[in-house]
């Protein structure tokens, strides 16, 4: 059977890479007593697949992985057991069985909600820069793709962007950024607000999938009859509410 796991990554552990997180989970699954299925062949690997990478230094409430299990686990107890085997800062929030045929995380995530802390300009200047950016119909970004420079209009990828107010060290922003078709990464977006603006912290708050035209939280997308086993925050996306998760919950 396959399961989808939602976990958070917070605090000092934010400095470990996506690859490190994968290795940590491989070990933690073994410590927690889950029998993970292995690939066939000369070098068998555990069948675990991760969603979108989170950059080193970014925190998140909503990271996902899919695990192919050779034997079922007790779903009630499993999140706690797996969390206990994880380092401080990585915590399993929820687990749901994955219906056969559910598209992979990589294929189905369409956008992410973010909170940022930026430094380098005051709140008024940032607010000004945000509204200027949003007013533009086209924002062309030069990117290096396999050694070739290409120009991309990233404006369609900025689904929402709002100033959330002052934070401990700078100014808080909330954004929803597309991850399918035209995409933009946080570290590309922030410099567009001004040369001196620097991203000092970032929190991924939510990820959304698109299943048959409906936007669902990835655990909900795992199989809709399982909804009752999920924790909070499940429902269709409301772009306008993106800033809900603002500064209040920041660590």
């Amino acid at each position: 059977m396959k399961i989808r796991v939602r976990f958070s990554k917070k605090g000092r552990v934010r400095f470990i890479s996506h690859r490190d997180v994968a290795r940590v989970f491989e070990r933690a699954l073994r410590v927690a007593g889950a029998s993970v299925a292995y690939s066939e062949g000369f070098s068998p690997r555990p069948k675990i697949s991760f969603g979108l990478a989170l950059s080193v230094g970014f925190e998140s409430d909503a990271e996902y992985l899919d695990v192919d299990l050779a034997a079922p686990v007790d779903q009630e107890d499993f999140p706690r057991k797996l969390s206990a085997a994880l380092p401080d800062g990585l915590m399993v929030v929820a687990v749901a069985p994955l219906e056969p045929g559910t598209p992979s995380l990589q294929q189905s995530i369409v956008c992410c909600e973010w909170d940022f802390e930026v430094i380098g300009l005051d709140e008024a200047a940032i607010t000004q820069a945000v509204s200027e950016l949003l007013e533009r119909s086209e924002v062309v970004l030069e990117r290096d793709r396999k050694g070739k420079r290409t120009a991309v209009d990233i404006r369609p990828a900025v689904l929402s962007l709002k100033v959330a107010g002052p934070t401990a060290n700078g100014v808080g922003l909330s954004a929803t950024l597309a991850t399918d078709q035209v995409t933009i990464r946080p570290d590309e977006l922030i410099p567009l607000l001004g040369e001196s603006v620097e991203l000092s912290r970032a929190w991924r708050r939510k990820q959304w999938t698109n299943v048959d035209g409906q936007q669902l939280e990835p655990l909900a997308a795992a199989g809709d009859h399982r909804r009752e086993t999920h924790v909070r925050d499940i429902g269709p996306i409301e772009l306008a509410a993106a800033q809900n998760a603002a500064a209040g919950s920041k660590t």
Binding site: V13, F15, I16, D20, F42, A84, D88
Partner: protein
């Protein structure tokens, strides 16, 4: 690992300043700690606090077992606590210096200067400048004679401490040999000293110098006759004239590490390690590790099994390495390996890989490899070390060509496609025929592989030989870098048209720098300080290594490379480490050196009568070996110690 591992303390921490810098440096996970198994014993002024420092990057230093063992032993004591630290990479170092952030521990991010002891692990000569850099970054004077009672005691242990003289100006205390017992005794003395209310640092150091295995360089004075060393003598009658190494007689009493550290980020040996025995009496004459760690002390097989099982259960690793200098020589190793694999199958946690740090060069070695690499197969590595039988008799690595070809045939026939062969060049009395013999061996290995697969290949990894203290070759004049380079090119030319043979080699200039410090005396101190002051840190890394820093410093301080590196020593010469005792009688080593030049081999004393080298006879201990007979296969072929790789590889980091 859960919330319970992190305790809050009121002690100073650099974390708030450091945190804001970490998004600007490469691999910030190096600096956050958080490993499973980390002690997190809260800072407390009443405890004797140790900071164990590995003077290279986190990835290289974290797996160091010696450091982890001592870290645990101190943290188990009610009167001690220990944290760890690693050399920050150059990007972070620059930011730390700019912002006045000192070296810190990875657990509590406590400034290094706040500890009672900074204890360095010295495993490689080219890390010496990093030792100075770490002490300096801690805000502690680099020279021992400038420190006062408020500064930590700067200590060192590890294999390089068998010639600590080049670092005599910088180290307060050196521990020779196994540290398990010594660190406790040092803690006792320091606690007593603190209780006495004394503030006389010299008194503390003098007290420590009375402990067996503890060498306090400042309690000794060196006398010279021109370039020659006449003697190193104690300054005071109560300071021992000869410092004897420590040897733990029974490994079963020390089942450490019990909580091997499992890092959050990738490190060089990212797997469970269980030490199955310590010491090696194969008697390879180039091998310092084999000489200084005698006699052989095996861990009971049952204890190994328990340590493996417990270690896998708590860490979640799917790979374990059974460490020693030559694991295939462990009594009953095949049964042990089978038991470990069966234990793992029974618990059903997915495929387990067992690895051995080196393989014996015979079919028996390959059979074990086939058994243990069921999970996942990497390439196979053998270490014949020299290209001709004549040369292998000289170095006492008595592997016949038949042994090697038998092993290689077994390996290719069981599905391996790539072999790696380790060799040394620059060995005593080496001729071009011996050097070219390396290529011939490699070519024959590929030819054997062709019988089984078209893709058969063999990589030759060639290291430059550096004569080390307390080996029969300690009297030998090292080859010049020019000569080593000539031999490398000779071999390169001859293997160019050998299809399937690849050649990799270590930079002969790094071999030269290693040679300067390996057998140097106290006059090397200013040279090391000079190299460090001119920015020569991370000399194990090819991108930072710069031989001209070393050669120019030698010149500036009026020291001759010919004298220190290339010169053959005579029997009556006083060696810089003659006042230290690694357990080996000097006349045993000299006789073995003469035997080497006569091309006479010396069988392993585990299964033949004792040669009275001194390691047992002088210490009232003996081998602890479960089997009274030599392991099956009969060959003396064993891979040399490769745990500490030769320093600089071309174009990449220091280890592969």
């Amino acid at each position: 690992m859960s919330e319970t591992t992190v305790r809050h303390s009121t002690a100073p921490t650099v974390w708030p300043q450091l945190e804001g810098l970490l998004h600007r440096v490469s691999k910030p996970a190096r600096y956050i700690g958080g490993e499973l198994g980390a002690a997190y014993k809260a800072p407390n002024k009443d405890l004797i606090s140790w900071l164990f420092v590995y003077p290279d990057t986190y990835e290289i230093g974290l797996p160091n077992q010696g450091l982890q063992i001592l870290y645990e032993i101190i943290n188990e004591r009610s009167d001690g606590r220990a944290d760890r630290s690693y050399a920050p990479w150059t990007d972070l170092e620059a930011l730390m210096r700019a912002q006045g952030i000192p070296l810190f521990s990875v657990e509590h991010h406590t400034p290094a200067g706040d500890f009672d002891v900074m204890a360095f692990n010295l495993s490689a000569e080219l890390t010496y400048t990093n030792v100075l850099n770490c002490v300096d970054l801690a805000g502690v004077p680099v020279r021992a004679d400038e420190r006062n009672i408020d500064h930590p005691i700067v200590m060192a242990g590890g294999h390089c401490t068998y010639n600590p003289e080049p670092l005599a100006d910088f180290l307060d205390v050196v521990v020779l040999g196994d540290g398990e017992e010594a660190v406790g005794e040092i803690t006792d003395i320091m606690a007593q000293f603190r209780g006495s209310g004394s503030t006389d640092r010299t008194e503390l150091l003098r007290e420590l110098s009375h402990l067996e295995g503890v060498y306090v360089p400042s309690m000794y004075v060196a006398h010279y006759d021109g370039p020659a060393l006449r003697a190193v003598e104690p300054r005071f009658p109560d300071v021992p004239a000869m410092v004897r190494k420590r040897t733990v007689s029974d490994l079963a009493e020390w089942p450490y590490p019990k909580n091997q550290l499992v890092p959050l980020t990738e490190v060089v040996h990212d797997r469970l390690s269980v030490e199955v025995f310590r010491g090696c009496t194969r008697g390879c004459r180039f091998c310092q590790a084999g000489m200084i760690t005698r006699p052989v002390r095996e861990r009971p097989a049952d204890q190994v099994r328990t340590m493996v099982k417990d270690g896998l259960d708590r860490s979640g690793y799917d790979e374990v390495t059974l460490t020693s200098l030559s694991t295939a020589d462990m009594s009953g190793v095949d049964g042990l390996v089978t038991d470990i694999m069966n234990d793992s199958d029974a618990c059903g946690a997915g495929p387990l890989s067992v690895s051995l740090p080196s393989l014996r060069v015979d079919a028996f070695g390959v059979d074990i490899a086939a058994e243990i690499q069921r999970g996942r197969r990497t390439g196979l590595t053998f270490a014949p070390e020299a290209g001709t039988w004549r040369m292998r008799q000289i170095i006492n690595k008595l592997i016949s060509e038949d042994d090697l070809y038998g092993a290689v045939d077994a390996a290719y026939s069981q599905g391996w496609k790539r072999m790696k062969l380790y060799f040394l060049t620059g060995l005593p009395s080496e001729t071009d025929e011996d050097t070219l013999g390396i290529g011939e061996l490699a070519k024959n290995c590929v030819d054997i592989g062709r019988k089984y697969t078209k893709r058969a290949s063999t990589t030759v990894s060639l290291g430059g030989f550096v004569p080390k203290p307390f080996t029969p070759f300690q009297w030998f004049g090292q080859n010049t870098d020019v000569e080593l380079q000539r031999k490398i090119f000779l071999l390169k030319d001859s293997t160019k048209r050998m299809h399937g043979v690849n050649l990799k080699w270590h930079d002969p200039k790094a071999t030269l720098a290693e040679g300067i410090t390996a057998r140097g005396d106290r006059r090397l101190g200013p040279v090391i300080e000079d190299v460090w002051r001119r920015g020569g840190t991370f000399q194990e890394w090819s991108e930072h290594f710069d031989v001209s820093l070393w050669t120019e410093a030698m010149e500036r301080h009026g020291l001759s490379i010919d004298w220190y590196v290339y010169r053959h020593r005579t029997e009556d010469e006083v060696l810089p480490w003659d006042h230290l005792d690694a357990g080996l009688h000097k006349d045993f080593l000299w006789t073995d050196w003469m035997d080497a030049l006569d091309e006479v081999g010396l069988p392993d004393c585990r299964w033949t009568p004792c040669y009275d080298c001194g390691a047992c006879t002088g210490y009232g201990i003996e081998h602890v070996v479960a089997s009274a007979t030599a392991p099956a296969g009969g060959s003396q072929g064993t891979a040399g110690p490769r745990t500490k790789a030769v320093p600089v590889t071309l174009g990449m980091g220091p280890r592969q």
